[in-house]
Every structure is written in structure tokens, then in C-alpha cells.
């Protein structure tokens, strides 16, 4: 039987990230989980990939399948990497769990020429609706935790993230919002709609020259 992995099928947001990456490049995946993105990029784009992952299960799964992954905490271990060591540094669905997202963002663009950041959009209409109608912290597919046990401590909206990039002098090369069905929407041409209908967003960033 041919597996989804062999066909190159990965999660919709990871596919959007993968599409932003050129072949034969060097990449660091921060919070790489079970290594799905690294594996996909190694097989389909000949990317020389590395990963950092906090969970033991994730690291073991990655190394066991031949990926170069270290067990570590992005917030302390990114400091060890030299400047501009990679073409891309990816941080997918993790920035909202960081204690100092701004510093992490700075590190990503110090280590890599480009950074790719994806995160759940807190201004997604279903979340707004839950707060508005139920008056409770939203729980959804992308934010599947109660307020007291969530690892997500720094929520932001697409608009917030764009503003932070402006403040930090970061160039947004590409920005894509994904709706519930994984359909893509360009953020910049229609910020209002992207921020309302985007369940999550993927940004390709670089330092302003």
C-alpha cells in the first residue's frame, strides 16, 4: 500500500510552507514535531534539513527515521547557532507558545536568511464568535486546549503579527492565510478578510536590507 507520506501528502499548512522553499537549500525546523516537514523536504526538494524538538517522542521519531534532529528548547538553544547558518528557519505553530516571541523572531532571522513562521490566528471569526456568544476562551481545532492547560501563552492575530514585523523592520516577502478548508488567501491584498476568515497564517520573512 502506498502511504500518504510516500505520495508526499502533508498537513495543509506544512504544504504551504514547503511551497515557499527552494530546492537544495539548508533549513532548520524549530519545533519540528515528528519531522513530517523535514522528511517531505528531504525527499521532494533535496533540502539539507535539521530540527529542534522539545518532546522526547518527537526527537526519537525523527532520529529513528534518519533525520538530524536535536532535543532542545528553542528559546535557549537557538542562541547556540551561528549567524546566517541556514537559508531558511521554520517555526510552525509554535511562536504562540514562546515566552519571548519577539526575541525568538530576532534569532530566526539571525540564524537564517529567511524565516517562515506559521501560527493560529486569534482573530479567526469562529474564535471571535465563541467569545462573543459564549463569553468564554475559544477552543478550536487549532487551539485545542482549555485556558488553564494550554501551552499557548502569546496569542496574536494576523494583523498583530504584521504590525510586529513592521516595528521590527522585518520584510514580509509572502503572507498566506488558510481558511478552515485549507484554501489560501493572500493576506496583504485583503487584510480585513484574511484576518477574519484565516484560521491560520504562514509568513515568509526576511531582514530589511
Amino acid at each position: 500500500m502506498i502511504t500518504r507520506k510516500q505520495l508526499g501528502v502533508i498537513r495543509a499548512d506544512l504544504q504551504v510552507i514547503a511551497d515557499m522553499i527552494n530546492s537544495d537549500t539548508r533549513l532548520l525546523d524549530v519545533g519540528c514535531g515528528d519531522g513530517a516537514l523535514l522528511d517531505h523536504l528531504a525527499n521532494f526538494k533535496q533540502v539539507d534539513g535539521r530540527g529542534i524538538e522539545l518532546s522526547t517522542e518527537g526527537v526519537n521519531a525523527c532520529v529513528s527515521s534518519g533525520l538530524s534532529v536535536i532535543q532542545g528548547d528553542a528559546e535557549t538553544d537557538l542562541k547556540d547557532y551561528p549567524d546566517q547558518a541556514f537559508d531558511y528557519v521554520v517555526l510552525s505553530q509554535t511562536i504562540q507558545a514562546m515566552a519571548s516571541p519577539k526575541e525568538v523572531l530576532e534569532d530566526l532571522l539571525r540564524i537564517g536568511e529567511r524565516a517562515i513562521v506559521s501560527f493560529p490566528n486569534f482573530a479567526y471569526w469562529r474564535l471571535r464568535w465563541q467569545i462573543l456568544t459564549r463569553g468564554r476562551m475559544p477552543v478550536s481545532r487549532t487551539l485545542a486546549f482549555q485556558w488553564y492547560d494550554t501551552p499557548n501563552i502569546h496569542f496574536c492575530t494576523i494583523r498583530d503579527f504584521v504590525i510586529l514585523c513592521e516595528e521590527m523592520g522585518i520584510t514580509i516577502e509572502r503572507s498566506i492565510a488558510l481558511d478552515r478548508d485549507g484554501d489560501k488567501r493572500r493576506v496583504r491584498s485583503a487584510m480585513f478578510f484574511a484576518n477574519l476568515f484565516g484560521e491560520q497564517a504562514v509568513f515568509l520573512l526576511s531582514k530589511q536590507k
Partner: protein, 402 residues
């Protein structure tokens, strides 16, 4: 495993001389090196001629690309995957080396050499000094981990192998692996240092010193000259082994294995015999160790570990040791290893990251302490196997035909 024969004291009943206990014709291979180009040691001395005893498993392929160097730990030897010629025990890493195992001998060519300074056939203090015709004893020059690795490189040259597919080792074996990556990066495709450190900690030096003092306090040590006086400081060496053995296990593993259970008795004897199982076990470890190990070798090899400090050799910056290394590295540590704790291993990872080297790192959950790397630890074996296979694919090594 609890031994039923309780040594009531480590003095033991058999008082074999070292000559007797180790004068067994050892299986395996042996080669005389350094004849063309002497081995210059870190201490300044030169070894113009020295023997390396080694063992190999599997076949070197036509491209000579499937060689794996296994580096043994302090008291290990070249008998990785076969019954030990003296102790009769299984090879120390037969769990993972053999046909169909992680280090599949149908796929890889495994080499393991007894370290320089060792006592299983390689030149060391026990062997004959060609200049005097007597055992070297303390006249043997002090050797370092770097010297051990340079001797291995000479063996590799002798075997006509340019690049090892992999080099692997735990504990002192891991130190050798790091030395390989730092000094001969082009000759190693993949490196797996396990439960080790880039420098020996003061705590570990302290434990070694206790062991050495135990040996040297034994009157039969004779200032290191016991071989020519037909003596053997086996009591001192046994105590050294007992101390060291405690450091190889975690407190919880010791407790799980022995608790406070008594050995073959229902109550205390109100004396100093081995009342507790843990005492009996340790004494057994000590007494059996002296049959296969030389006391002076123990002094020299522990010293080599103490002197190991890879950063110091590179202007105090460990990362400098790995600059430009293209070797794929996989560092592994164990949660309850307090001899070479995860933090020490992580420092190696940090240094490799600092030069953007290709590195994997996993901390394996185990309650078996430092010795976990020698045990049946499924998670450890899974990660090891994954890294090795991934590397083999990149190196273009085919699966063994089955």
C-alpha cells in the same frame, strides 16, 4: 543476577598472579605498527614499535566504504561480539553487533581495537618493553585519548581504509569518537558519541583517583613492578572496580536490583561479611574483574580519561574542535546517567550547533544509569538504528542481501 557464591572478602581464595590469569593465547588479530613512522605521544615520548590487538566482524566491501570503528570504554576490549576469551561472558556489545543486528555484520565491517595502554594484547604497561626485555610497568609512557585514536588511525591505514562509515563508542569510547571528529573529520562519515563528555569532570577525576589509590595502596602493587616480582595487586584493583561499578549504575537501579535484601541469610550476622546482596554483588564484580584486567593498565587508562579536555586543546572553545567537520553526528545520553550526565552531552551538541554541524541528539529515558548504553534499552536501540540507517542510505550502503 545475584551470585550465589559469596566472596566473604575481596581477598578471595585464589591468589593467581597476573601472569597466570592473562597468559591465555587471545583470539583475534594483532599488528605491529609504528615501524616506519613512530607514534608521537602527547607526553612527548615516541613509540617506535607497538602492537595493536584488534578484532573484526563482517566483510569490508569492495569500495571500502562500510567500515565501522567501535571504540571501547575503560574496561572494555576488542571482543565486542563474541564470547570473552577470559571471562566467558557474551561480547560486551553483542546486543547490537552481529548478523541481523543494528550493526549488521552482513552489511558493515566492524573493527574494534584494544586501546593503546590496554591489557588485551595491545601495547601497554603489561607488555614487554623491547629495550629492557621486561614488562614496561610504570616505565610505560602516559598515554592520552588522542594517542589512542592516533593509534587507531594507524590501524586504519594498515587496513587500507580511507574513510570509516561510522565511529561509535560510549563513555571513554565516546571520548575517542569526539577525538576522531575533531582531529580526523574527513576520515569519518558518521559519528555516534554516547554517554560521554568533551572533558572529564572533576567529580569523575575524583572517582578515578580513589580507584588508583586503592591499587597503589595494595602492597602487592610493588610500586608498579608487581609483574617482575610475580605478585598481583588484585585486592586494590578489585576495590577500584567496586567503586567504579557504583558510578556506572543509578541509585534507583541499585535499589530495584537489590534493595536492602540479605544474601543467603535470614538475619544480620553482626559482622562484616557480605550480609547484603549489594555487597555480595560488588565483591563479585571486583573479584571477577581482576582475572581479566591489569592494575597498571587501569592506572594508565583512567589517567588518559582524566586528561581528556577537547576544548582545552582548541583555545578553550569546544566549538573550535569541530570547525569545518562534515561528519554526521548523533549524540545520545541517558536520563539517570550521573557519571556522564545529559548536560555534559548537551555541551557537545551546543558546540556542534555553534559551527552548524550536522547533529542529532536524544536523551534516552532509562533508569539504568551510565551502563544503560550496554543494556537492552529498546528506545536507545531504535534511535541508534534510525540514525545508522539514515546515514547508510546517504553513504550509499545497501541493505544486506537476505
Amino acid at each position: 543476577m545475584i551470585e550465589t557464591s559469596v566472596p566473604e572478602c575481596i581477598d578471595g581464595s585464589t591468589d593467581k598472579s597476573a601472569e597466570e590469569s592473562t597468559k591465555v593465547a587471545l583470539p583475534g588479530k594483532s599488528v605491529l605498527l609504528g615501524q616506519d613512522q613512530p607514534l608521537r605521544l602527547d607526553c612527548g615520548a615516541e613509540l617506535a614499535e607497538f602492537t595493536t590487538a584488534y578484532q573484526t566482524y563482517g566483510k569490508l566491501n569492495a569500495e571500502k566504504s562500510n567500515a565501522v570503528m567501535v571504540c571501547h570504554a575503560l574496561t572494555g576490549d576488542q571482543f565486542v561480539a563474541e564470547t570473552h576469551p577470559i571471562s566467558g561472558m557474551d561480547g560486551w556489545w553483542s546486543q547490537i553487533v552481529g548478523p541481523g543486528k543494528i550493526f549488521d555484520t552482513d552489511r558493515y565491517f566492524i573493527i574494534c581495537a584494544n586501546v593503546l595502554g590496554g591489557c588485551m594484547g595491545s601495547t601497554g604497561p603489561k607488555e614487554i618493553n623491547p629495550e629492557t626485555g621486561k614488562s614496561w610497568g610504570l616505565d610505560f609512557p602516559v598515554i592520552t585519548v588522542g594517542d589512542m585514536v592516533r593509534a587507531q588511525v594507524m590501524l586504519l591505514d594498515h587496513l587500507g581504509i580511507d574513510q570509516l562509515f561510522a565511529v561509535i563508542g560510549g563513555s571513554m569510547g565516546g571520548m575517542q569518537v569526539l577525538e576522531w571528529v575533531a582531529s580526523f573529520p574527513d576520515r569519518v562519515f558518521a559519528a555516534i558519541p554516547i554517554a560521554t563528555a568533551a572533558r572529564h569532570s572533576s567529580q569523575n577525576i575524583a572517582f578515578h583517583e580513589v580507584g588508583r589509590q586503592a591499587i597503589m595502596a595494595d602492597p602487592d602493587w610493588c610500586g608498579g613492578d608487581y609483574l617482575s616480582q610475580d605478585k598481583n595487586p588484585h585486592r586494590g584493583l578489585a576495590v577500584a572496580r567496586m567503586t567504579a561499578h557504583i558510578t556506572y549504575m543509578s541509585g534507583s537501579a541499585l535499589h530495584r536490583k537489590f534493595g536492602r535484601r540479605l544474601q543467603d541469610r535470614k538475619s544480620f550476622t553482626y559482622g562484616f561479611g557480605a550480609d547484603f546482596q549489594v555487597e555480595s554483588y560488588l565483591r563479585h564484580q571486583g573479584v571477577t574483574f581482576v582475572d581479566r584486567f591489569d592494575a597498571n593498565s587501569y592506572l594508565y587508562i583512567t589517567r588518559a580519561m582524566d586528561y581528556f579536555d577537547l576544548a582545552a586543546e582548541h583555545d578553550g572553545v569546544l566549538a573550535n574542535a569541530f570547525k569545518g567537520a562534515k561528519t554526521r553526528c548523533c549524540v545520545l545520553s541517558f536520563t539517570t546517567d550521573w557519571l556522564f550526565p545529559t548536560e555534559e552531552n548537551r555541551q557537545i551538541v551546543r558546540a556542534l550547533n555553534a559551527v552548524a554541524a550536522n547533529v542529532s541528539f536524544a536523551e534516552i529515558e532509562s533508569d539504568k544509569g551510565h551502563d544503560a548504553f550496554l543494556m537492552d534499552e529498546p528506545e536507545f536501540h531504535m534511535v541508534l538504528s534510525g540514525f545508522l540507517n539514515g546515514s547508510a542510505v546517504l553513504r550509499g550502503l545497501r541493505q544486506a542481501d537476505s
